[in-house]
């Protein structure tokens, strides 16, 4: 990030503190391995200079909701938001420890990971009902967006009247089809991104400033 942006961020933070702007808790939700922690890390690095959590190709790497507080995100039009980013475990209705054995974990490690993952998902659902002011719903653009868990989660978020942005991640992959996600959820803003490469990430920040103000 260049010096101009850093100075702008500092100035925005100063103004936010001065005017005691409301801080919103924004949850990053989505199915396992959609790239939630990669996005949380990118947001934290871009706006605070450090990371939130570890990432890996094994599902359920994030097994506790992780929070990065007091991030001030600025849009091109000068508006800004102050948020806490909550990176949540991937939401699912089933967890079988045997899936983790395929990634080289031994049985004991796999059972522990599965137990922690179940606790994490339960906690994420609880957070959504009690403590979240807005949601970035993360989807893998190479997967079917019509999976029941996605339909259910969007329905739950809508019923709580929370503002939601759908991030169609992994557009750097050849099989990516973000237009499928757009047609699945036409009622919500969909931003195609690549968290890994940083593609379109500025567009996501603009949408966040617009939706979460």
């Amino acid at each position: 990030m260049d010096i101009f942006v850093q100075t702008k961020n500092r100035f925005s933070r100063f103004l936010s503190a001065f005017f005691k702007k409301k801080r919103s808790r924004i949850g990053i939700y989505g199915p396992p391995n959609a790239g939630k922690t990669t996005l949380a890390n990118r947001i934290a690095r871009d706006w605070a200079g450090d990371a939130v959590g570890a990432v890996s190709e094994i599902p359920h790497e994030t097994r506790r909701a992780l929070r990065k507080q007091d991030l001030c995100i600025s849009g091109a039009n000068g508006h800004s938001i102050t948020i806490d980013i909550v990176d949540t475990p991937g939401v699912t209705t089933k967890i079988d420890y045997k899936e983790f054995l395929e990634y080289g974990l031994d049985k004991e490690e796999a059972i522990t990971r599965a137990r922690e993952a179940t606790e994490g998902v339960a906690e994420a659902m609880h957070w959504l009902r009690e403590d979240i002011d807005g949601v970035v719903y993360m989807l893998d653009s190479t997967s079917d967006p019509f999976q029941q868990v996605n339909i259910m989660m969007i329905g739950i978020i809508e019923s709580r009247k929370l503002p939601v942005i759908i991030a169609a991640n992994k557009i750097d992959l050849p099989d990516a089809a973000p237009q499928k996600i757009r047609s699945a959820f036409p009622q919500h803003p969909v931003v195609p991104i690549s968290c890994l490469e940083g593609k379109n990430i500025e567009e996501l920040y603009e949408q966040m400033v617009h939706s979460f103000r």
Binding site: T93, K94, D96, A122, M125, L128, Q148, I151, I156
Partner: protein, 120 residues
């Protein structure tokens, strides 16, 4: 002896007389025993959220892996005027729930859910 899978169809009327927690306990108790549950009317979003949370608390290695669930897309209800002023409601529809290790969804569209069920 006849072998197979039990399927319980629960009427809308019966569901309407239950509290959210009664519905969730009924579903999880049946599904944990290997029964496939078909609800004539689906759960409300808040109940779905609690069902996921409770399911996670019930998961045990080599015993219960969680649930598979599929539902018809919900339907918007209300007159044109009520929709215009934002007073419409969403009606949840038929829902199939079963143990994740026995129920596999094959295909779903707005009018049909195809599922494959195995014995334990």
């Amino acid at each position: 002896m006849l072998q197979g899978v039990q399927i319980d169809l629960i009427s809308q009327e019966s569901l309407e007389n239950m509290t959210s927690m009664e519905k969730i306990h009924l579903i999880l108790d049946k599904v944990r025993q290997g029964t496939i549950v078909i609800l004539e009317k689906g759960l409300e979003p808040d109940e779905q959220s609690k069902l996921i949370e409770m399911t996670m608390k019930e998961i045990l290695p080599d015993d219960f892996n969680g649930i598979e669930m599929e539902t018809y897309p919900s339907r918007e209800e209300g007159s044109f005027l009520s929709r215009l002023i934002g007073r419409h409601s969403t009606s949840t529809r038929l829902t199939v729930i079963g143990p994740a290790n026995q129920l596999k969804m094959i295909k779903k569209d707005k009018d049909q859910i195809s599922a494959w069920i195995s014995t334990r």
